[in-house]
């Protein structure tokens, strides 16, 4: 099963937005109450404390918003939640220090919600109990016992409910996403199964046809070999996408097609190995044609049953080696008017800016080296 990233899902983002949104509202609420308290007829003994608390609440709300955007994971850490609770605890005791009315408004609920979001019910309750304890400790001072006790109950209740709701939402979200993922997987599997069935049908049909042809031509050895080679090539192309080589692309594809054609036309097995690949422009065409001539030459004259072809493309040049272990020949004794090799292989490549070299000796096979600088 693919992992479901809980931190980046839509539901998770929405939850976080609600919690952070409440933080902004709560900070604004606190500022309004603070201004009223400072500006009121019976102003606080120490208005500076009220103003400082207002600044602190706004600054911390901005920090929360920044974290929400930049590194939401941090918002779930116990350290962040502890500092967050500490700020709220200060807003609770600030009125006593300032000698003012309570001006924290709904702010203390904000860390309870945030902890419930970050750490579920445990987080919500822990923060609620911590703030409740601070609230109760104020009873030693001028605070109203009924209001404070009610506030404690509300914190604990809110922490529990928020934690529970967050858990429910997450569970529902997870279930939905798992169902979606399962559905997507099923779809992919069905498409794949259909492709497989189609491919199997095609392969079976083509193999049966080849077998029928082989039976009909069983007396003709070279025809049978050619049929077998063609079928093998087709199977490989279906099964592995290429002739078993390590690249696919313009030049490699041209080489592969050319080798297949020569195999069919000249009753010889051509083993192609390609390394790297290049764009198939006009000079590449010339290189492929020159290689074709070299392979055909080997098939016609060397007497070897196999021809090895190696094509390597690098950013600097493309090199093709065509090699047989056949009878070889004395290159120097080929008369100048015999145009085969010179015209069709060497000159063709030279006109495209390349070069060709023939390495051969009687009895030791032949290797034609074709190079095209890029």
């Amino acid at each position: 099963m693919e992992p479901v990233d809980a931190h980046t899902s839509d539901a998770e983002r929405t939850l976080r937005r609600v919690v952070v949104g409440y933080r902004a509202v709560a900070a604004a609420w606190l500022v309004i109450l603070g201004v009223i308290s400072v500006a009121g007829p019976e102003g606080p003994a120490r208005p500076g404390v009220v103003v400082a608390t207002m600044v602190l609440a706004v600054a911390w709300a901005l920090v929360t918003i920044a974290l929400h955007a930049q590194s939401p994971d941090l918002m779930r850490s116990w350290l962040f939640l502890a500092i967050d609770t500490g700020v709220a605890a200060w807003t609770l005791v600030a009125p006593d220090v300032a000698g003012s009315e309570n001006f924290y408004g709904g702010y203390p609920m904000s860390p309870v919600f945030l902890a419930a979001y970050g750490r579920g019910m445990v987080g919500g309750l822990t923060t609620a109990v911590a703030l409740g304890t601070v609230q109760l400790s104020r009873l030693a001072g001028p605070a109203d016992p009924t209001a404070s006790s009610a506030a404690v109950l509300i914190y604990v209740f809110a922490g529990a409910v928020a934690g529970w709701a967050v858990g429910l939402l997450r569970e529902a979200d997870r279930t939905t996403r798992m169902a979606e993922a399962a559905l997507a997987r099923e779809q992919v599997e069905r498409v794949r199964a259909e492709e497989k069935a189609e491919m199997a049908a095609h392969l079976h049909d083509s193999v049966l046809q080849t077998l029928a042809l082989i039976r009909r031509n069983s007396a003709d050895e070279s025809e049978v070999a050619s049929l077998a080679r063609r079928q093998e090539r087709e199977l490989r192309a279906w099964l592995y996408g290429t002739g078993g080589g390590s690249t696919r692309g313009a030049f490699g594809e041209l080489m592969r097609r050319m080798c297949a054609e020569v195999e069919d036309a000249h009753q010889v097995a051509v083993h192609l190995v390609t390394v790297g690949d290049a764009e198939g422009d006009a000079s590449m065409e010339a290189l492929v044609q020159a290689a074709r001539e070299a392979i055909v030459n080997a098939a016609k004259h060397s007497g070897a049953a196999n021809v090895a072809v190696y094509a390597e493309s690098s950013p600097e040049r493309v090199t093709v080696f065509v090699r047989d272990r056949g009878r070889g020949f004395d290159y120097g004794s080929v008369p100048a008017d015999r145009q085969g090799i010179r015209e069709s292989i060497i000159n063709r490549l030279v006109r495209s800016g390349g070069r060709a070299t023939v390495h051969t000796k009687v009895g030791e096979g032949t290797e034609v080296e074709l190079v095209l600088e890029r």
Binding site: R192, K196, R236, L239, Y240, G241, G244, G245, S246, T247, H271, V273, T274, V275, G276, A308, Y310, E312, S314, F321, R323, E367
Partner: protein, 211 residues
């Protein structure tokens, strides 16, 4: 000393064909047609070289290597496959096979390959040599472990000749080095292929598992 060989392949025809082709050049100490029997018999008879089919039910050749290497690290594996697909080949070599050849190999060449593997050297088919060149040449020069992720100039030359279907002896003559040196270069390349953590090399094994 005759090399003791064990053959693992789920095609009966192929096993008997290989056995007949090898003749008296090696001592065939047993055959198996599935992973379980192969692991059990190889651990019991401890051959020098195991000829190992890449594709078999229940984990393929890779499972056999894993089942044997732990108990008998001295047993060497030469992988054979008809598929020639780079993904399979690299997976089996990285699992611990000393080499890889295609099933179209001649009996003579197979005998030579077995002897080479028995001596602890590596054997690459032209196709595998080509793939290794390809994989290592597509490596961006930054961010490589020079010990493992790069081939030396000589190693590249040797691999290029292998990809051009030259034999070790021919390569030695052409590069003016001894056959032993060629063997050392190829073994070093094998080590790099097995140990490099190159993404390209590992990903190939998973890339084409559609079928």
């Amino acid at each position: 000393m005759t090399v003791r060989v064990f053959i693992v392949d789920d095609h009966d025809l192929f096993r008997s064909g290989v056995r007949a082709g090898l003749g008296d050049s090696v001592e065939v100490v047993g055959e198996a047609s599935n992973v379980e029997a192969a692991v059990e018999m190889i651990n019991e008879r401890i051959p020098d070289v195991v000829l190992l089919d890449v594709h078999m039910p229940a984990g393929g050749g890779k499972a056999v290597i894993e089942g044997v290497k732990e108990l008998n690290p001295g047993v060497e594996f030469l992988a054979l496959s008809a598929s020639d697909a780079a993904a399979d080949v690299v997976a089996i070599v990285r699992a611990g096979a000393r080499g890889y050849v295609t099933k179209t190999i001649s009996a003579e060449a197979l005998t030579l390959a077995i002897a080479r593997v028995a001596e602890g050297h590596a054997v690459f088919s032209p196709q595998l040599a080509g793939f290794i060149l390809h994989a290592f040449s597509s490596i961006p020069l930054s961010d490589v472990d020079p010990e493992l992720d790069q081939l030396t100039k000589r190693e590249r030359e040797v691999l290029q000749h292998l990809a051009r279907a030259y034999t070790y002896r021919e390569i030695a003559e052409r590069l003016y080095i001894s056959v032993k040196t060629v063997e050392t270069h190829v073994s070093n390349v094998l080590r790099k292929l097995q140990l490099s953590s190159r993404y390209e090399l590992t990903i190939w094994a998973h890339d084409r598992k559609l079928i």
